[in-house]
């Protein structure tokens, strides 16, 4: 009875569990390496924030196979990316291309860094000027007076 139950469960939940399957791996190690690298930058569309390289979903497997098919057919990396984006939209890219409004995404941190550096430099130099180095004229005079008194 228990064995039957376990069997039924296994049948029920059998489905792809590991990410890249052995039967997907290309014979050419160089192409396979490229496929893995490219897969890491492509989103599994039905998952929450996983690349197709990590995902267990069926759709991710289809996309992995597609990537390998195109690479075997001789696509360059750019051609492949264009091909995938044409079919699935830019949502599929985990690294949004720096164009149009996405420039803001890349530019904003840089702008903040420069702004921050500017403010920090200004602050450091200003606070130094706020209190003059050394003694003021009045203090100099007082020191001289005191030294004279010593003599």
């Amino acid at each position: 009875m228990r064995a039957a139950l376990i069997g039924a469960c296994l049948l029920l939940f059998a489905g792809p569990v590991a990410a890249v399957q052995p039967d997907e791996v290309l014979d050419d190690p160089v192409l396979e390496e490229r496929a893995r690298e490219l897969s890491k930058g492509l989103r599994c569309l039905v998952c929450r924030n996983e690349s197709i390289d990590e995902s267990n979903a069926g759709l991710a497997r289809d996309l992995r196979l597609l990537v390998r098919e195109r690479l075997v057919a001789g696509d360059t990396d750019e051609e492949l990316i264009d091909y995938v984006v044409d079919r699935y939209g830019e949502y599929v890219l985990l690294n949004p291309p720096a164009s149009g409004s996405t420039l803001l995404l890349w530019g904003a941190p840089l702008a903040l860094l420069l702004l921050g550096a500017g403010v920090a430099t200004a602050h450091i130099t200003r606070q130094r000027r706020a209190v003059p180095d050394g003694l003021s004229d009045a203090e100099e005079a007082r020191v001289r007076e005191l030294l004279k008194a010593e003599d």
Binding site: A19, Q21, P22, R43, N49, E50, E90, P96, A108, G116
Partner: protein, 657 residues
């Protein structure tokens, strides 16, 4: 009955928190001692009430009281006891109850240990702390009541999400919450200081231990989560730049900045306004994190309980507290006059650079996390921001920070000059030499590995040199004796900075030199990977307490020598209808051998993946050392002895001499 008492205690705690907000704040405004004195006992009563409420919920989970909706949804009689208890906070309602418990605990701790605080400051701190509590009590009681009963209790529960049934993850949320909520103390101190209109060295000395404690809990919490992801998710990733991970990482970065700038306030009475701002932002990012996790606005692999309506409520809390505090800041910050003046090349300047890099790197994480939302709403573009972006945009900040760290930390206060950097020249030479050697050895791979090695050596040895300079001059014996008597803060600093170096090295090493192989293996097959050989000896079905496991047994050989057995599993939790993977890992000092068993294949055999993960444990080892550094620093004498003592205010600016 106990459940109803727990519910009632929570309502009472809500009422006490309201009183604790209003009475001491009004009292502090009018200088009424009696009103202010109410804050401390109220804080104690509050923590007792929430504590009882939390205990009542825990009791319901432990006894599997299925008349409680929350227990039905998240528990099962077959579940091991550890996970019955961790199930209390493994869900939205219970985790919020844990949140307010920790909030009340921190408030009470401030009341108990803050006896020497000036009367008005203490009343204000406790009042502000209670006001945060009020918002969260209302949130729980009105939208997420954990004590809801069912009219018709079922015979058994629906089990906890199997991914959460793991020792690493059982303690991950409490540590994160201790961190998140610990930052509420820094927030309360900041707002209280703005209300007081004064920030001095004593204030810095008060804020720093709380921030340090929060930061060290966050460090442990994040490390636990990362370690869990490594062995549980099945491919040995340790960081995914997932919105929920980012949610905990942002407060960590700001808290790191804050605990550095608070030193400047404490030692030099400079950077006051900036430190206040950081304290507000640190807790603000904790609330942003809570919003991200609880609202489900940003989808993520492990937001396990979310609901847009609750998100709106948290957004309101975020807007009121952060917005209100920032408004108060804008009005009152100009009052904060800096007293200490420092040179361009000084430790103060170095800490400003540290703060700038940490704050902007936090902004990188923030903008990357929310960008998909912004792009969709503002530009009507549906796009993703994932690990490739974060790796490219965040890494430069880590490199810059690590490169500057030893240079800055060896500088003296006020005025340094390049002379002090002479001691670091040999360290720099060593780092570059070791990295060069590694680069020559690995041939034709990326620069990431050698760079990580260089930064690791630079930070670890740099921290050692920094510590050595603290022992002054004299014979080796004298200096060793002085080394043992150095204050906790010095040791803590060296440990934390060294730990950071170890973590950076671990991340770089693992990323650069990982090896992986995926094959179909039948029982008896061998797989070769690098110097290692893995033999699949057996695959069996095993019945666990509340799961069924496909358990493989593999022997690992290194150069023909038997070094151990790996037992990877694939589990199925029938009640929750979810599969999980348990990797088989042979932990080593220099590398992990990491094996995962996949599906049975049509032509017989199993899909097996084996990884060699070099220096994996250094990542979490470094994090533990960092946290340890925080702990040692927390034990510094000056927090116990001089905690409440006030320095006499110097008359005017102290010139940089």
């Amino acid at each position: 009955m106990i459940i109803e008492l727990g519910h009632f205690a929570l309502i009472l705690a809500f009422a006490v928190a309201i009183a604790q907000t209003v009475v001491p704040l009004v009292g502090a405004h009018y200088r009424w001692s009696g009103w202010m004195a109410m804050a401390s006992p109220a804080a104690t009563i509050q923590v007792l009430l929430v504590g009882f409420s939390f205990a009542a919920l825990t009791y319901a989970f432990v006894t599997s009281d299925f008349s409680l909706r929350l227990v039905v949804l998240n528990s099962h009689t077959d579940k091991p006891m550890l996970y019955k208890i961790s199930g209390v906070w493994g869900n939205h309602e219970g985790s919020l109850l844990l949140w307010v418990l920790i909030l009340a605990l921190f408030g009470a701790a401030a009341a108990w240990f803050g006896q020497q605080l000036p009367e008005t400051l203490r009343a204000r701190v406790l009042g502000v702390q209670a006001s945060v509590g009020v918002a969260f009590y209302a949130f729980i009681l009105f939208t997420s009541n954990p004590f809801e009963r069912l009219a018709f209790p079922p015979f058994n529960g629906e089990d906890l999400n199997p991914l959460l049934q793991d020792p690493g993850l059982a303690f991950h949320p409490p540590f994160l919450y201790l961190g998140y909520v610990g930052l509420s103390m820094a927030f309360s101190f900041a707002v209280a200081a703005l209300l007081e209109g004064r920030v001095d060295a004593a204030w810095g000395r008060w804020v720093r231990p709380w921030t340090l404690a929060a930061w060290l809990f966050l460090t442990i919490g994040i490390a636990l989560g990362s370690w869990w992801a490594y062995y549980e998710l099945g491919w040995g990733g340790f960081w995914f730049w997932d919105p929920v991970e980012n949610a905990s990482f942002m407060p960590w970065l700001i808290a790191a900045a804050l605990l550095h700038s608070a030193i400047v306030v404490e030692k030099r009475e400079a950077l006051k306004a900036w430190t206040i701002l950081l304290a507000i932002l640190a807790f603000g990012f904790s609330l942003v994190g809570t919003f991200i996790v609880r609202s489900g606005v940003l989808t993520s692999v492990h937001a396990f309980a979310n609901d847009p309506e609750r998100g709106v409520y948290i957004l309101a809390i975020l807007a009121i507290f952060t917005g209100g505090a920032l408004l108060l800041y804008a009005v009152r910050a100009p009052v904060m006059q800096a007293k200490g003046v420092f040179g361009v090349v000084s430790r103060e300047s170095a800490l400003v650079a540290n703060n700038l890099l940490l704050a902007v790197s936090c902004f990188v994480v923030f903008i990357g996390t929310i960008w998909p939302l912004v792009a969709e709403v503002a530009f009507d573009r549906k796009l993703s921001v994932g690990p490739p972006f974060f790796n490219a945009a965040f890494t430069p900040f880590v490199i810059a920070l690590a490169a500057l760290l030893p240079l800055g930390s060896i500088l003296p206060w006020k005025r340094g000059g390049g002379a002090h950097w002479g001691k670091l020249v040999p360290v720099a030479v060593l780092s570059v030499a070791v990295a060069g050697l590694i680069w020559a050895m690995q041939t034709g791979q990326s620069l990431g590995g050698p760079l990580g090695v260089a930064l690791g050596v630079w930070l670890v040895v740099g921290a050692g040199v920094d510590l050595a300079t603290r022992t002054g001059r004299g014979s080796v014996g004298d200096r060793l004796r002085r080394l043992t008597r150095l204050p906790g803060a010095d040791w803590g600093k060296a440990l934390a900075h060294g730990g950071l170096g170890i973590t950076i090295f671990g991340v770089a090493g693992l990323t650069a030199w990982e090896q992986e192989k995926i094959e179909i293996m039948a029982v008896g097959d061998r797989m070769e990977l690098g110097r290692y050989e893995v033999v699949l000896e057996d695959v069996s079905r095993v019945q666990g307490p509340n799961y069924i496991s496909t358990m493989a047994r593999m022997h690992v050989y290194e150069g023909g020598r038997d070094i151990g057995v790996l037992i990877p599993e694939k589990r199925i939790y029938p009640v929750a209808q979810m599969p999980t993977t348990e990797a088989g890992i042979d932990n080593g000092f220099l590398r992990d051998v990491y094996a995962v068993i996949g599906d049975p294949q049509q032509g017989g055999g199993w899909a097996v993946r084996v990884y060699i993960k070099p220096f994996a444990n250094w990542i979490w080892g470094g994090a533990i050392i960092m946290a340890l550094g925080g702990l040692v620093s927390l034990g510094d004498r000056r927090y116990r002895v001089a905690g409440g003592a006030r320095r006499k205010a110097p008359v005017a600016g102290v010139p940089a001499e």
